[in-house]
Amino acid sequence: MNEFLPFFVIIPLGAGFLTVLLAGRIRHASAVLANLAAGSLLVLSLLCVNSLSRSGTLAFNLGGWASPLGIKVVLDGLSGFILVVVNLVSFLAMIYAASYMRIYTARWKFYALFMLMLAGMNGVLLSGDLFNMYVFLELASISGYALVAFGVEPEDVEASFKYLIMGALASIFILLGIALTYSYASTLNMSDIAHALALSPNSMIITLISILFLTGFGLKAAIVPFHAWLADAHSSAPTPVSAVLSGVFIKTLGIYALSRVFFNILGVTPKILFIFMILGIFSMILGAFLAIIQKDIKRMLAYSSISQVGYIIFALGVGTPLAILGGLFYLLNHAVFKSLLFLNAGTIEYSTGTRDLNKLGGLNSQMPVSGYTSLLGSMSISGIPPLGGFWSKLIIIIAAIQAGFFGFAFVAALVSIVTLGYYFRFQTFAFFGQPVTPGLKIKKAAWSMNLAMIILALIAASSALVLLPGFRNFLDSAVGVLAKGNI
């Protein structure tokens, strides 16, 4: 399977290129190509993860040059886990987009940009050296800025510009950190840097590099002092893009990169873990309280993303293997149910023309598919047993209590109740009760939109099965990579 690794970047790049070539000549060519590419990537990622369980890590030297000279592509347990999640959510977003994007013009541009973003995300996960990670990160980010502004309404371009300035600042800090790392360790390969740093620890420059990376990746992940751009960008983007941005984009570019750099390259110290925990707690609380007061469904979901990403960062900060397991399991669950909820919000906007909670009501009778799938997603995100969201929150809280952080565990449980509150409010205002606006015309959702939502709801309902012994290896190998540290 080693030689298949570069195809995770080649397939989406090629599909994006073909999309531009064929656009306007063959009807629906762009949508079909994008769906084919995303589907084949999902199959390929599942195959790779399957062979990963036998061999441990997969690696490929680009151009046949061995490690110190050439560029290495690596897939290990952690990146394999996130790779499957990324390609799954992207594929379902593509199915959804096939009919949803008909309300926009110039659809082939959307598909080409989306494929570029997917290539960037896959590249971030696969690259074995820091500079290539930066290049792919920028590829994903720049196509992300363009996709947020895709609707070219005044709000869209404003949100996109804010996002661009924040994202560019983040990239600058990351690049400065990479330059300092290179000048200190004389190599860019991740495992070589870890070896070089292990020989000469406790340097002031490591502290500086840590601060730069924390700021950069923290901005990309929208952890609380750096969260200002997220709600605007994620609520203004076209719905399939919001689902991917909130579901997997901030996790790949933010949490995966952050944990890779800190756990596997620089090495975690108790001080850094404590900073993670504090940032996670603040993200949880502030995100949840900002989500309560929102009237726009998509803005509420975006603030909820900040709050839930706080849980993952907090779990990584607790740092015991059990906590990391809970955090990564929550990452999987959050990717699934948050993209599901964004697709529901998009369907509501598609059918009724508004996203304002005060103008909606009683949609359950007319839009049963969105109604019941979003009920399932809301139940999972607010931690109702036996859904996946409940188990992951339970594991995180138990791990925090075991590690002796009683106060933080209490706050995490409390925020979970607040989450239940605002999702209950979303359900009652949108789907139950009586229609508020009389004569609201309801357009029927197309079949591909319903299909994507139903598949996501089925995965959300059954995600707790990943904890069972048969599938456990999938999560455990990812936890093992982080728990091993920078050896």
Partner: protein, 112 residues
């Protein structure tokens, strides 16, 4: 040492420009300045005094050569910077079409 200090000054000028200016075109210019300062810094990390280009020839010994890898990295970051500036400027054009101003304090339709 002077070069590093000047590079840092350039970085601070660009950062000030991004964070404090109200005109979005000036913010984009600040973005460019910061990128140039980082590129300069990466080049400086590979610089050796009186070093030569590391080109291998048959009958030549080069005792003191500069590190070529940062130069290759800078070429890549310049291209990335170009793409970023192009997206930023095209967004600025759209913003001017929709809002009729470049003033970031007047471009506030998103709230909450």
């Amino acid at each position: 040492m002077v070069l590093y200090f000047l590079c840092f000054v350039l970085f601070c000028v660009g950062l000030y420009c991004i964070l404090r200016k109200r005109n979005i075109i000036k913010m984009i210019i600040g973005l460019g300045i910061v990128e140039y300062s980082i590129n300069l810094f990466i080049i400086l990390t590979g610089y050796r005094r009186f070093g030569r280009a590391p080109i291998l020839a048959h009958d030549q010994q080069i005792p003191n050569m500069v590190d070529p890898l940062p130069q290759a990295m800078v070429l890549t970051t310049i291209v990335i910077g170009l793409a970023l500036i192009v997206v930023a400027v095209s967004l600025a054009v759209r913003i001017y079409e929709k809002y009729g101003t470049f003033d970031i304090t007047k471009i506030r339709r998103l709230r909450g």
